[in-house]
């Protein structure tokens, strides 16, 4: 779960990391008022989860009240679905720093990254000038010891009071990382102000989805998803991605579903949605098919090869879903695994033609979709 900037900054501020003074505005009027309260110049920042907000024009520096109002109206009307603006004081910046903490799957440690050049895409920098990125590996059982913060500060060329501030921010950032079960915490940029203080210009916090159960109060609302269907699927615990093609996938297994997606694209087809109803969801066929039908697909393609998810149970769910939802589009089932024989019987009884080869099923789906069924 990726938090919005204002949420991440709230977490950071509570941990003692300095953030700019700000208000969250839910409409243009509130944004204008907040801007006037904060004073000019100030910054209007669209609270959307996409990256590259600056380049997309979703962050605006405004110098007076009319400009603030105009910018706010524009932003709320943007096609990127802006529902909240963070109105923030403009900071007099000397330079920018990059700080983040993420995980290193090979070393089984956390990694604290720092770069004296903030505001840039760290991955780009990693590719072009890796020597500018400094790292400290931190074992979770050892924790983030002060000497590591000092090492990073020295590498960044910070000394004296700035080094102390940076060390305190790194320590607080580590606490945020651990306490929030984060995949990533990032301050990019961390401003060095003209008055010699450090303040978080942006805030990113990705909470590990598998840890959400113990992150009290964290629940992803509608504005964390790019479609109603994705939001509804998430509430059911059904992995779902929204696309705008012709074929709805209703498959089991993350790897297999991904490969079916690959094969459809290879065959020149397009995907309406990615959906997994395998694993713990294999009894949710009705709900899964409902989600697919919302996309008005040309074909529903069902591919499974189950282990825990028994083929016969899935087939039963599918025939049940067809009976209830009466989909008008063709359904192509390719259901293998435990209980396969029984599954085949049930599917045939429901008037479907079971296939046993994934590539064949994909080809048929693409052909049907292209054939312009309906």
């Amino acid at each position: 779960m990726k938090l919005h900037e204002h949420e991440a900054k709230e977490v950071f501020a509570k941990a003692g990391i300095p953030v700019p003074r700000s208000f969250l505005a839910l409409d243009a009027a509130a944004a204008s008022q907040a801007a006037t309260t904060i004073g000019f110049p100030c910054v209007l920042k669209s609270q959307v989860l996409m990256g590259g907000r600056g380049k997309a024009g979703l962050i605006r520096l405004v110098k007076d009240a009319p400009a603030a109002q105009e910018a706010a109206l524009e932003l709320f009307a943007s096609p990127h679905g802006v529902h909240k603006l963070l109105v923030e004081e403009a900071v007099a910046i000397e330079r920018e720093i990059y700080l983040s903490i993420t995980v290193d799957p090979v070393a089984a440690e956390a990694v604290v990254l720092a770069c004296a050049q903030g505001g840039v895409e760290i991955e780009e920098l990693a590719a072009t000038a890796p020597e500018k990125i400094f790292r400290e590996s931190v074992s979770l059982s050892e924790g983030f010891l002060p000497f590591r913060a000092r090492n990073l500060c020295m590498s960044l060329g910070l000394s004296g009071d700035l080094a102390k501030q940076a060390a305190a921010i790194l320590d607080a950032l580590w606490k945020c990382f651990r306490a929030n079960d984060a995949e990533l915490v990032e301050i990019n940029p961390l401003f060095v102000t003209k008055s010699g203080t450090l303040i978080a210009g942006d805030g990113k916090l990705l909470i590990d989805d598998s840890s959400l159960f113990r992150q009290a109060g964290r629940e992803a609302g509608r504005d964390y998803y790019d479609s109603d269907a994705a939001f509804e699927a998430a509430k059911e615990g059904i992995p779902y991605l929204q696309f705008d093609g012709d074929i709805s996938l209703m498959c089991a297994g993350a790897g297999l579903t991904t490969v079916v997606y690959d094969l459809i694209v290879d065959e020149g087809g397009t995907v309406a949605n990615y959906l997994e109803f395998g694993g713990p969801n294999y009894r949710k066929a009705v709900r899964a098919m409902e989600l697919c039908l919302k996309n008005d697909p040309k074909v529903i393609l069902i591919v499974t090869f189950g282990t825990i998810a028994r083929a016969d149970v899935m087939a039963e769910g599918i025939t049940d879903a067809i009976a209830r939802l009466k989909p008008k589009c063709p359904i192509i089932p390719c259901i293998r695994g435990t209980g396969e024989d029984k599954a085949v019987e049930m599917l045939r009884a429901a008037g479907l033609e079971p296939l046993f080869d994934t590539e064949e099923a994909v080809r048929k789906a693409v052909a049907l979709a292209k054939g312009g069924y309906r």
């Binding site: 990256g51 995980v103 799957p105 090979v106 089984a108 440690e109 956390a110 895409e121 760290i122 991955e123 780009e124 990693a126 590719a127 074992s139 979770l140 059982s141 651990r178 079960d181 995949e183 590990d208 989805d209 598998s210 840890s211 159960f213 113990r214 992995p239 991605l241 696309f243 089991a252 297994g253 993350a254 790897g255 297999l256 579903t257 991904t258 490969v259 997606y261 690959d262 094969l263 694209v265 290879d266 990615y274 997994e276 395998g278 694993g279 713990p280 499974t304 090869f305 189950g306 282990t307 825990i308 998810a309 293998r336 695994g337 435990t338 396969e340 994934t358 590539e359």
Partner: protein, 300 residues
């Protein structure tokens, strides 16, 4: 000979009385696996498929020594279960749960490394050496997938493994040992760490890896091949070639960030190291045939 488990391994099952635990315990035994004891706190004295159940790992192994643990407990209790097994000296562990908290995955992998143990998983179907032993949940009874043979398989997936393995068998081969390292972003064991075992295994002629976008596991395999630490024939199949950038599709570990972890990049790296990379599941079989130059038959 096989990789990771064989019939002489003595298996303890944590969470044996649960529905998954008891169901797969039966199948492990049926396949020939030496399951010796089970654990479910509070259920000492019961038995599952004739296997005695104890309150704790310590009490279980005191009565029935085991060298491997198969863990069927929910994700949020997995770390505790793994550490409990490690605490009793068990150094071979398979844990299947999907959804282990990320930081706990780090702790599990670090603890295993520090103790010289190997933890396979989570988010996996487990490990199987068809015809010999199994720690996990494989429909071994489907002969067109789990035929014994001389091809080693490592995989990040579940259902996709059945799909690809079926193609290996369809091409006339069989499986020596199949190890599901799992689909998490921080699995306990990584592909490259198992290569020395497959290299040493006289029952394995070639290895298939079933990988996908995200992470660096496939690149580590290529590195081991470049360094000549592994030099048996290797065929890779990688999912997610067409997956949209920057969105997580499928497994937790399956995401491309900052241009790293693309299937394109992995394919190039593996090919440079001498691996063959299949574009489709079916091609895995034909590439193996090409590599081995013969159909070795089905007997291990």
């Amino acid at each position: 000979m096989s990789v990771f488990i064989d019939r002489d391994d003595t298996i303890l099952i944590q969470g044996i009385t649960g529905s998954e635990g008891s169901f797969w315990t039966r199948h492990m035994i049926e396949l020939g696996t030496t399951v010796v004891v089970g654990v479910t706190p509070g259920k000492e004295g019961q038995s599952v498929e004739g296997i005695p159940v104890y309150h704790s790992v310590r009490r279980a192994v005191a009565a029935h020594p085991a060298n491997a643990a198969m863990i069927f407990v929910p994700p949020r209790f997995t770390k505790d279960a793994v550490f409990e097994a490690l605490d009793s000296g068990i150094r071979k562990i398979v844990t299947i749960a999907e959804g282990i908290p990320l930081h706990e995955c780090l702790e599990i992998r670090a603890a295993a490394r520090d103790r010289g143990a190997r933890v396979v998983g989570g988010n996996t179907s487990g490990v199987i050496s068809p015809g010999r032993a199994m720690m996990g949940m494989f429909p071994y009874w489907i002969e067109r997938v789990y035929k014994p043979g001389r091809i080693g398989i490592m995989t990040r997936s579940g259902s996709l493994t059945n799909e690809v393995t079926a193609m290996v068998v369809a091409a006339g081969f069989g499986v020596s040992s199949l190890i599901g390292v799992g689909g998490d972003s921080v699995p306990g064991t990584r592909f490259a760490e198992l290569l020395p075992d497959f290299q040493a295994d006289t029952g394995t002629d070639a290895v298939v890896i079933i990988g996908e976008l995200g992470g660096t596991m496939e690149e580590e395999v290529a590195e081991a091949m470049e360094a000549r630490r592994f030099n048996k024939p290797l065929v890779a199949f990688l999912g997610g070639r067409n997956a949209p950038k920057g969105r997580r599709m499928g497994h937790a570990g399956a995401i491309v960030t900052g241009g790293k972890g693309t299937v394109e990049g992995k394919t190039a790296t593996l090919r440079k190291a001498g691996a063959l990379v299949a574009a489709r599941p079916r091609e895995v079989g034909s590439l193996l045939f090409e590599l081995l130059g013969r159909n070795p038959g089905s007997k291990a």
